[in-house]
């Protein structure tokens, strides 16, 4: 089933601003990005603010009984989501080192984030 017409391809930027597992929004943000990719729509992910905590390496959420979102984020290229960006100021503030980020993730400063937001048709804030 493809509800999306071929002629209209508008780009979507999904901005994830909450930490997991304190909120259900990070999961909804990823589900939305995956749905867009499943329908072959151009989608970009941006982790901002506390959202960068989703990227902490070596997460073990088994005892908490929730899904390890870092694993989902690491697998995004398998679903054709290659454009993943991280707010560099937030990552620095939360002590997340660039070399621990998922392979597909790119560091972005405030000017870069402005450009990213301006270059997409829709910005969805989670």
């Amino acid at each position: 089933m493809s509800p999306v017409a071929e002629h209209s391809r508008k780009s979507i930027l999904v901005v994830s601003r909450h930490a997991h597992p304190g909120s259900s929004l990070p999961r909804s943000a990823l589900d939305t990005a995956l749905a867009a990719a499943a329908f072959d729509q151009p989608v970009t992910l941006l982790f901002q603010g506390e959202g960068v905590l989703q990227l902490l390496p070596a997460q073990d959420s088994r005892a908490a009984g929730v899904r390890n979102l870092r694993k989902v984020i690491d697998s995004l290229p398998l679903y054709d989501i290659e454009a993943v960006y991280v707010d560099s100021a937030a990552a620095s503030a939360f002590g997340i080192a660039p070399d621990t980020l998922p392979a597909s993730a790119r560091w972005l400063d405030a000017a870069g984030i402005r450009e990213l937001m301006a270059s997409h048709d829709h910005v969805l804030g989670f």
Partner: protein, 131 residues
Amino acid sequence: MPLTYALLVLASPTSGHSSLTAARFARALLARGHRLQRVFFLDNGTLTGLATAVTPQDEQSPLQQWAQLAEEHQTELILCVSSALKRGLLDSTEATRHERPAATVHPAFELGGLGLLVEAAQTADRLVTFG
């Protein structure tokens, strides 16, 4: 120039006033001659469609605001099915399928997949999120 809008509601109807703001925004854009293609409720936003919610008499009911909007303007109100099921929001089909005692979704709302949000993003000129 009239625009086509779609709304994404993430906010819970019982926390803050974002759901009521979204309903007012919907009314305002329709009053100005724009088109509202669809309202997609996701995450805690799906609780908006809970038919059994009881709002105190001195508060505005988000459920009633949305249901009135749907009735007056035939607005499509979609609850994300995976978010909805987790929160106990079932239509009669899902209640039967999952062997639950009752349907809990208000008739003004329908369950639907995230593909409907993706489709709205492709066809709408503006997609506005209420978080």
